[in-house]
Amino acid sequence: MRGTDVPRMAEKVERLRQTLSPTKFRQEVLVEMLSDGLSYFDLDCIARATNPDVKAFAL
């Protein structure tokens, strides 16, 4: 049973979502069997991670 299917666990699940990596969350909470070769990082999330308010330094 997935952690997200248990209403009384909702608060804990949200806390885990913030503290576990996406891969770990899928394994530990969503009980997914992840196959070998799968990227560890959430690459879509990383591709979106731009801060337009900060310019890169030219050291």
């Binding site: 996406p22 560890y40 959430d42 690459l43 999330c45 801060n51 900060v54 890169a56 050291l59």
Partner: protein
Amino acid sequence: MTPEFHRDGRVTLSNPDPIIEKVVGYERFYLAADLGQANDFTAVCLLRDRRIPIYGSSTRQVLGPRERVVVFADRFRGVSYVDIVGHLLELMQRPSVAGRVELSIDATGLGRVVHDMMVEKKIPHHAVQMTTGQNWSRNGQYISVGKTLLVETLSVMFSSGELTFAEGLTLRREIEEDLASFTITTSAAGNQIITQSRSAAGHGDLGISLAIAAFTSQHLRRGVIGQHKLTGYWG
């Protein structure tokens, strides 16, 4: 009101009204280097870690959200360790970061040589050695960090939105390619472990240097001694 950035890393929000409770924020930098051997790249990443005072709902200042941004990345090869040490020292002395930057190096394997050179030159730094396992500990002059923890820390920061890239960051694409080279593999014992393959961009050097910078900012940063009202605590 505009925050004032001090040279020692403090960030304040001045207000002449004595009734306003003030808090002190910070701006720090974390420079990390993954040292290359022979034909490999040496990669360097600089992370800016900042919390700025803002006005809360009442007449009190509170610390705003923590913001970590990758503001600089570089890599080079065919450079002697002596020149690398000199270059890192030079980067730390640039006016935009001087006095507010902490250096971490990958002291695994041949990195120990660079660590020894830095100790001799009295350059303050964290010597991080990557090990197996999922914990970290101080081991004499070294900080032993499980590679899984190192990668996990970076992954959580990205997924929680706490870590971003600065606009126009050089080598951004190469960093993303490096991070894509970390994959899940099942060991012979049936455990799932994180492995890293050579990416199109190189050998994961940039990804490792970024992970070390992120780990340092999360686990090794200097503590702040101060007195503040406790808020947001229950339970």
